[in-house]
Symmetry: C2
Subunit: 156 residues, 2 copies
DNA sequence: GTAAGACCTCAAGTTCACTTGAGGTCAAGC
DNA sequence: GCTTGACCTCAAGTGAACTTGAGGTCTTAC
């Protein structure tokens, strides 16, 4: 592999994408991006990787885990460089997710004054207390989500 | 402390709030809630704790860390049981945060088709790539946020 | 030709919000 | 009186998404 066949070193990709080199190595270890190697063993990235990284970061902002991102990326063509149509197709899938998240927060906001403001803040009756499966992107780690278990009311 | 002066055992609080006993102990260790003790050393909770726990969980849904929740709770009166007015005052503070989050997601959605759809997905120009300080609630752990470092564009 | 800096690998550490487990105590019912 | 189940403490583990560090190699510029 010749050293500058329009390929980027990891530092360059890092600078251009705003993603740390360690993160890029990590993404590679996770199978999210791919790099060629120089004779000396250094990573050489095709320009395409910038779009891939951008995709990953935006997907994360929307609340996808890297696992989900990996699945999404798996839908890209394997044997040719993805076109912008390919990327558009992928990102269109975010739409419902975004809509859902927005709806969730709006509902939360609408309930906020009336619900806590009124002093009920109950666990059964209060709409604030029905996160359902909508806890995407809030915090990390194993966690029991509020669900059927929340079955009582605060007041006597 | 008499064993049933209208106080709740940890299991009861757990069942009523939907929060695991281990989490309640954890919250206590973090100074978020407080418990009296029985002669035998068991935790006895005042009814008020249910509202406190509810507050904590809702705050988390909005994206606050436990650290922030602690600060918020510090604003509650120390010497008397908080009234619903007190709680309302606290939760009103969530409003701007919620508004901001919603705005962020809406902007993201609005940009989505035009931005990725058009194939630009650039790092400098694309609105998708200006998370600023708005990464609240996305994932965990130390992480470099996209910022000034993201300073280039994908296309040549 | 050599010094500096960019890069390599691999293992271990970090944060958050908890959970799990070990080893033991307390309280209620029979 | 004894079993059972709820509870106790304290230390260590978990998962995601990385970062940090140690110890070493490559490449470039002078």
């Amino acid at each position: 592999m010749s050293p500058n066949d329009d390929l980027l070193a990891i530092g360059e990709v890092a600078a251009r994408s705003g993603v740390a080199p360690s993160a890029l190595r990590f993404y590679e270890s996770e199978g999210l991006i791919h790099a060629l190697r120089s004779d000396g063993g250094r990573r050489l990235y095709e320009r395409e990787v910038l779009r891939r990284v951008a995709f990953i970061r935006v997907a994360q902002r929307i609340g996808l885990s890297l696992d989900e991102v990996r699945s999404a990326l798996a839908a890209l063509p394997d044997q040719r460089t993805p076109t912008s149509k390919d990327w558009a197709r992928l990102s269109r899938q975010w739409r419902p997710r975004l809509d859902e998240q927005i709806g969730m927060l709006v509902a939360l906001r609408d309930q906020l004054t009336s619900c806590i403001g009124c002093g009920c803040l109950s666990l059964r009756a209060c709409a604030l207390y029905n996160p359902d499966d909508a806890a995407a992107g809030l915090g990390s780690g194993p966690r029991y989500l509020l669900g059927d278990a929340a079955s009582d009311v605060i007041g006597r």
